[in-house]
Structures are given as structure tokens and as C-alpha cells.
Amino acid sequence: MVLIIQKTLMYAVPLLIVALAGVFAERSGIINLALEGEMIFGAFCGAIVGIAFAKHNILIEKPQAIFVILMIVAAAGGAIYSLMLSFSAINLKADQTIGGTALNMLAPAIVNTVGLAFFNQEKLVMPSNFKSYAIKNPDPNANPIVQIFTDKAYISTYIVIIVFVILAIWMYKTKTGLRLRSCGEHPQAAASVGISVFKMRYLGTTISGALAGLGGYVYIATTAGATAEGSVQGMGFLALAIMIFGNWNPIWIALGALLFGFLKCVGAVSGQIEFLKAANLPIYFYNIIPYFVVLIVLAFTAGKSGCPKAEGIPYDKGQR
């Protein structure tokens, strides 16, 4: 039980924040296919700064503080990287699929080039003490449920959940959030009431890039063993899928990410559940479950799509 909750959270948290990243871009009207690339790039920025910190013994006795700083660095890296997408999609009205695909190819190429040129390896492994991010519980005999949220939780879990809630509320309950969303539905109408579509779309993709970068760092720090490399094992595309699964709506996305994370860890705990252990199914069977369940759910729930109407279409003033 403890293990299930812990594993579910570990898997769902990066998925959650990167899926929200997708929502921010698409709600402003830009298809952000580059989530994967932004995750890789953000994680890589975080890892490089982390290694530099360890080398110069900065804050070495405060791993929690380092973790938070590196998350911010990763978010900044992702945001800067996403400017390339914004520039091509917003300024030059380029095809957003092409821009996103190019960014997905560019990120691993940069990571591997820099890794090989300056660290002589493609994988950047961060110092081992970086893995012990868990919040220390002063009472070692606390009950297991409390332990899940203290000893076995990463500080990133709380930060991500807080950021997720704040940004979701911001997008739906504030003036700027409404304006941002209007640019994804009908940019010409938005422009006619004085909203700068240009600025709003830049805002959307930049927040998107920052969240994806942050998610990328959280992913490598918690799930991928503190190793940055030219790949996040398709998590970016999976987050894109969760975003569509959640119908571009933060609440459904949160539920979708948790469901997916839960199904993903059934295999990991199958050894401890009697009837599953008796069935002795191969790992591949458990790996297929989450993807299969998503397809079944989609077949039954499809219908009204929450897809922003103007996503993917470059804003053209002349069409007003």
C-alpha cells in the first residue's frame, strides 16, 4: 500500500506538471510538440548546475535547498529553450509541428554534444547524495501513511502540486488567464478587444517551457536515478497524451496522471500481491496495462473535445 502510493506519486508528478505545460501552450493557441525536448534540455541545465555545485562544495550540506534551486534552473532552461519555438511559431508563423519536432531532435543532440565535449560522456550522473531528497521525519516510528508524505516523499512532489494548483487557478480565475485562453479559442476576437495575441502566446509557450523543464528535472531526479541524458524515455509525449486524455482541463489531467501513475506501478508491486504473484505474468503484461486502459477509457469517454479551437493556426490579423 505504502509502496503503491509512493510509486504512483513518483510517476504521476512529472507527468502532471508536463501535461499542464502542454495545456498552457495549447490554450494560448500553440501546439507544443516540443515537451520532450524541453524536458531533456531543462533536466540537462539542472544537472550541469548541480554538478557544478557539488564540485565547488556550494550548499553541500543543504540538499533540499539545492534541489529547489536546480528545479528553478531547469525551469529557466526550459523557458529559454521554448523561446525558439515561440519565435518560429509566433513571429515567423512557421508550422508548429515542424518547430516542435526540430526542438525534440535538437535537445538530445545538444545534451550529447556538450556532455561528450566537456564531461567525456553522454550521461551526466549527478553526485549520489543528490538522490536523498526525501524530507526527514524527526519521528522514526511514525505511522506508515505519515511516512509516505515525509520520509518517502520528495520536496518536488509538494512544490509541483502547489505550482499546479496555483497555475490552474490562475488560468481559470484571473483576467490574464482568461485572455490567454481566449487567444487559443478565437485570437481575432481577442485582438478586437485589445488583447495582444502576440504577448499572450509568448506568455503561454514560455510558461509551458518552464513547466516542462521543471518536470524534466523532477523526472530525472526522482524517477531516472539522478542521471541526465539525451532522452526522457518518451515522458514528454506521454504527457502530451495525458493532456489530450484530460481533455485540456487541469482537473481531468490531474486525475488522468494519477490513474496512469497508479496503473504504471501495478507491475512494480505485483510481487507482493498474492493472486498476481500466483499468475506469474511477465513484466511486459503489466507494462501494457496503463496504455491499454487509456485506450479503453478513451473509446468510452470520447465525444466533446475540449481542444482549443485555434491551436496550431498562426495568428493572422487579416482574418479578423
Binding site: 508550422d95 543532440a109 497524451a241 485506450l295 478513451l298
Partner: protein, 389 residues
């Protein structure tokens, strides 16, 4: 080619620069030059920062990249390998391109690629024809055809979900990719008699069972390279797709669905059938890509890693198609070009750089290819400015 872009095909001018085909070719060339230029800047920057790279390495590296497979002493082998590795890339590119033409984004090529691989290898490896070349050829043929069918059926899944339930094809493609990857690992992990001895996680090669792709003497021409009949099949596939899209009613319907689904439905076309068929063809092409790649006598399949990482060829079909603006014939050249640069990249180590610099340049070229509309606009403006005088 002239039908490819409907936006300004009505232009009455017959000028060379106004031709859509010429314009897309020119804009592709511009993006290639821009990509190489920025790549050069990156190489200079790397030479300035990194202590291992000397200033003289910049020119050497650039020469290697431009020379591609003709760098170094084994030009024949390298050229043959370039052609061989371009084969799955062309087919996956075609797969993405035909889906694009129907308004669908086939990000499921990796899964279709794997299903083709799974079925064709299961046939080709389980029947031993090592001393019967004629029987081997027929088993190979059956393996290729069934590999295509497997890819087509796998491609039908996202098409079916899109047409019947109205589910976005991207999410179904991503889910089916991972399902395919796990099925491939699962099936091959149980087939213990196919496992290569002393090499954990790999299957035996088709060279050992005799059901491999004929090499048509290419291996003598390009000594020691993998190149085989596959490239001819890929080129034929590209021509067939070109003819389907541009010369048949069915192709016209597919494109009409891509431009405006509702209008084509109003015109009496069965848009649901077209979506499923388009994805089936896309799946067959990607499946053929996986089939031809792994039926080569020298290529081995790693079933242990298959479920953890999707095959790159499937995803790299997307840039191959995009660089060619989804033109089937153009996809042949864009795939060959991408492999040309990658072959040059393999030599960059001897110039102090690593091969990923070539990947950066390829990615930049794709990035600039996104500006094609801008370049086309500039080309058109020049023309109209002249007319204005």
C-alpha cells in the same frame, strides 16, 4: 508536384520561380544552407570553448560534414550504408507524409515499425532455408508482405479510434507505440530458440536462416556495406504513393479530407473510410520499413531493449517527411540527405568533434524548414515587385 500546394497554384504566371515545386525546392535549399551556417557557428564556438578542439579542426569538421559518406577511405562502404540506413527512413517518412496529406499526424510509426518487425522476423527466423536460396526468397517475400499487413493493421487502430470515436490520433498513436514495443519484447523473449548465443538480448540474424533480403550484387559494388534490394522497394513505394496521391480519385479524396473534412463529407466522400485507409497505408509503409531493416542479413534485433525505447526510425520519419513538405518523391531525397549528413557526422571524431554535432545541424535544418512559408513568401514578393514595375 504542382498540385501539392493549392495556396498559390492558381497563379497565372508560368515563371520558373513561381513554380511551386521549384519554390519548395529552393526553400528547402535555403533551410539547408541556414542550418549548415548556424552549425558552422556552433562548431567555431565549440572550438573556442573546448580545449580539445583546435581552430584548424573547424574547417576539417566542416569538410567531413559536406563530404558525408565520401569522407575517409571506405567511401563505397559508407555510401552503401548511407543508402541502406535511408531505406527505413524513406518508408517511415512516407508513412508520416501520407497521413499528413489526410490531415492526420502519424506519430505511431515506431509502433507500426515494430509490428512489421515482429511479424516478419517471426516468419523469417523460424523457417530454416540456409541451403535453399529459392525457398528462402519465397519465405522472405511472405515475411515482407505479412510484415506490411501487420503494420497496416496496427495503423488501423488510431485510424479507427479517430473515425469511429472521434479520439485524437496522437494519443492513440502514443499508446499503441508502447503496447507494440512491449508485445515485441514479450513475444521474442519467449522464443528462446531464436536468441543469439552468447549475446544477451539479441535475436539471430536472417543471414543464418537464409530468408534474408536479396542484395542483388550491391554488396560487391559497395564492398562490405549492408545495402540490399530494400532501397529499390522503398523507391517503388514512394512512386506508388506519389501516383496514388496525385493521379487517382482515391488520393484526391484523401487530400480533400486533409484540407477540409466537412467539405469532403458534404461532397459525398466517405471521410471515415478515408481516415482509416490512410492510417492503414501509413502503417503498412512503416511496417515495411521495420521489415526491410531487420530482414537484412546483417542487422540484429535487440528484444531486451525494445520495450524501453521506441525505435528512432519511426520518429525520424517525421523530419524526413517535413523536410520534403510531405512530397513522396521528395521524401526519398530528404531521407538520403539526412543519412548523408549523419554519415559525415560519424567521422567528426577524428576532427575533435563528436557525431552529435551532425545531429544538431540536422535538427537546425528541420527548424529552418519550418520557415518554408516565409521563404516562399519572400520568393513570391520578389516576383510581384518585378511585375509591379
Amino acid at each position: 508536384m504542382s498540385k501539392k500546394n493549392n495556396s498559390d497554384s492558381r497563379s497565372s504566371s508560368k515563371s520558373f520561380l513561381q513554380n511551386d515545386g521549384v519554390k519548395s525546392l529552393l526553400s528547402s535549399l535555403i533551410s539547408i544552407l541556414a542550418g549548415l551556417a548556424v552549425g558552422l557557428v556552433i562548431m567555431i564556438v565549440l572550438a573556442c570553448i573546448s580545449p580539445d578542439i583546435k581552430a584548424s579542426h573547424v574547417l576539417k569538421g566542416l569538410r567531413f560534414l559536406v563530404a558525408g559518406p565520401f569522407t575517409g577511405t571506405h567511401a563505397g562502404t559508407n555510401f552503401g550504408d548511407m543508402v541502406f540506413y535511408a531505406t527505413p527512413l524513406i518508408l517511415c517518412g512516407l508513412s508520416v507524409a501520407i497521413a499528413f496529406k489526410t490531415g492526420l499526424f502519424n506519430i505511431g510509426a515506431p509502433g507500426q515499425f515494430l509490428m512489421g518487425t515482429l511479424v516478419s522476423l517471426s516468419i523469417a527466423l523460424n523457417i530454416n532455408n540456409s541451403d535453399k536460396p529459392v525457398a528462402g526468397f519465397f519465405v522472405w517475400l511472405i515475411a515482407v508482405l505479412l510484415g506490411m499487413v501487420a503494420g497496416a493493421l496496427w495503423g488501423c487502430i488510431p485510424g479507427f479510434f479517430k473515425a469511429v470515436f472521434g479520439v485524437n490520433e496522437v494519443i492513440v498513436c502514443i499508446m499503441t507505440n508502447w503496447i507494440a514495443a512491449n508485445i515485441a519484447s514479450w513475444v521474442f523473449s519467449t522464443q528462446k530458440h531464436l536468441h543469439a548465443k552468447g549475446k544477451g538480448g539479441y535475436l539471430i540474424k536472417t543471414g543464418e536462416t537464409g530468408n534474408m533480403t536479396p542484395d542483388l550484387g550491391f554488396s560487391k559494388l559497395f564492398k562490405g556495406s549492408y545495402v540490399d534490394l530494400g532501397i529499390i522497394i522503398a523507391i517503388i513505394a514512394a512512386v506508388v504513393i506519389y501516383v496514388i496521391l496525385n493521379k487517382t480519385t482515391f488520393g484526391y479524396e484523401l487530400k480533400a479530407c486533409g484540407y477540409n473534412k466537412d467539405a469532403s463529407k458534404y461532397a459525398g466522400m466517405n471521410e471515415k473510410r478515408n481516415i482509416i485507409l490512410s492510417m492503414a497505408i501509413a502503417g503498412a509503409l512503416a511496417g515495411l520499413g521495420g521489415t526491410l531493416y531487420y530482414l537484412n542479413p546483417g542487422i540484429e534485433f535487440n528484444f531486451n531493449a525494445a520495450y524501453m525505447k521506441l525505435p528512432d526510425y519511426g520518429f525520424n520519419g517525421i523530419p524526413a517527411a517535413l523536410l520534403a513538405s510531405s512530397n513522396p518523391i521528395g521524401t526519398i531525397f530528404s531521407a538520403l540527405f539526412i543519412r548523408y549528413l549523419a554519415q559525415g557526422g560519424d567521422h567528426l571524431v577524428s576532427a575533435g568533434y563528436n557525431r552529435y554535432v551532425a545531429d544538431i545541424i540536422i535538427a537546425l535544418i528541420i527548424y529552418f524548414a519550418g520557415f518554408a512559408n516565409l521563404f516562399r513568401g519572400i520568393l513570391s514578393k520578389k516576383k510581384s515587385a518585378k511585375e509591379g514595375k
